[in-house]
Symmetry: C2
DNA sequence: TAGATTGTTAATCGATTAACAATC
DNA sequence: TAGATTGTTAATCGATTAACAATC
């Protein structure tokens, strides 16, 4: 009876499928097999089929998947066929970058308002959205039926603001602050910790370098051995 | 002989350990057990110990881990004890947001330059860094020993610029463009696909809602049953 | 020494890949 | 019908958790 839980790994891959299908759609491709898609996306065809079949059978044996249909269906699964009312807390560069990203509106994320505590920013208009102070935050959330909030403020202020958001009825927080937020079970948080992402990059570039050095070392050893051997012979 | 490959999952968690240890350090905590840390971070103690032991034994039986020492060691593993020369391609809001993030410099990521194609931005100065045109990109990379590049440009331009970066010797790309880049094996790419992150949030908030509705439905059914029963009795 | 806690091996769990019958 | 490709079951692989001997 119980529908089995969808794993986090699957959800992570879903938007990527959506992106590739969107590109195929734009370039006029009508149908695609899991095999062909797997080559483009560099994942296994098996994984694609398994992932999709978590949500239902979208394909047809002997034919493959209809690109337009699958694209639409994944859109529905991701909930981007609906409208989401979003506010941005923190109108600095990052907040403004999000506000200026027009694709969000295209996918149903409607930026209802922007907020900041910096009095110099309050009153400014970004993409037609006035920056407000946080005093009327709760009222604004209720008046505009706000469901989601992007948090682009320093980590020191984030937990307090998050509490206020949750109390005012926000159900989803897109968290760019470098803290882990404590929220009730029915509120979802998606973290974008940029500094952690940069550290992962750092790790990977360093370990790549180490690997290369090791290979060079081996190469040198081999060369030395060969040389010694040649010297012996002569 | 071969050192076994560190899994991606471990590397993802490493910066989070680093962050928590940094906070502990700041609040003057000298030592911590895997058990205590597990409670704070909401992961299992077993996982913490397993993760760390991929890189060596940093603890001491009966004592736990020295916070300062472990913090330093993880920093070394992540390669943030060294300096990384970084450039930012794309001086829009997102690029400027990265440039303004002072913590990066603190962790050894030194922003050597910013680039853009928009002539109106070229010549502007952000945090003491002049925005340049992309014409002298290759020369700049060589002159300044640039190892990493953040790509905060539209997806249409990204692949071409990525090729130029790689050819000029850049070894790591922090990719904010909504495309998957094709690079040689010895170049690492860390993707930050914000729109995909937002879709994941959307999925999760929608499935949370569905779950709640199902529960309500069940509740209603139960109430109806109870009512019917009561009616029968009377 | 006794207590605490690690490092590490073994057991479990979950996710990915392979295989193939079902079917368009 | 024959060929292609899905949906799904089974096999494999890897990651997480549990358990405990080693040891500070």
């Amino acid at each position: 009876m119980e529908k089995k839980e969808i794993s986090k790994a699957v959800i992570t891959r879903l938007p990527r499928y959506y992106r590739y299908l969107g590109e195929l759609l734009e370039s006029g491709v009508e149908r695609i097999s899991s095999n062909e898609l797997s080559k483009r996306m560099k994942v296994t065809a098996s994984q694609i089929r398994q992932d999709l079949n978590n949500f239902g059978g979208f394909g047809q044996q002997g034919y493959g998947y209809n690109v337009k249909y699958l694209h639409t269906e994944i859109g529905k699964i991701l909930g981007i066929d609906r409208q989401h009312h979003l506010i941005i807390i923190g109108a600095g560069n990052l907040g403004q970058a999000l506000a200026n990203y027009t694709n969000f509106e295209k996918r149903g994320f409607i930026i209802k308002g922007m907020f900041d505590i910096n009095p110099r920013l309050i009153g400014l208009v970004v993409r037609g959205i006035e920056i407000r102070g946080v005093d009327d935050l709760e009222q604004f959330i209720k008046d505009n039926d706000v469901q989601m909030a992007a948090l682009t403020i320093p980590k020191t202020k984030a937990p307090e603001i998050a509490d206020r958001l949750v109390n005012a009825g926000v159900k989803a927080i897109w968290n760019f602050a470098h803290v882990d937020l404590n929220v009730p079970d029915d509120v979802v948080v998606e973290n974008v910790h940029l500094s952690e992402s940069l550290m992962r990059l750092s790790y990977r570039v360093c370990s790549m370098q180490e690997q290369k050095e090791k290979e060079k070392e081996k190469e040198r050893e081999r060369a030395a051995k060969a040389k010694a051997k040649a010297a012996k012979k002569s």
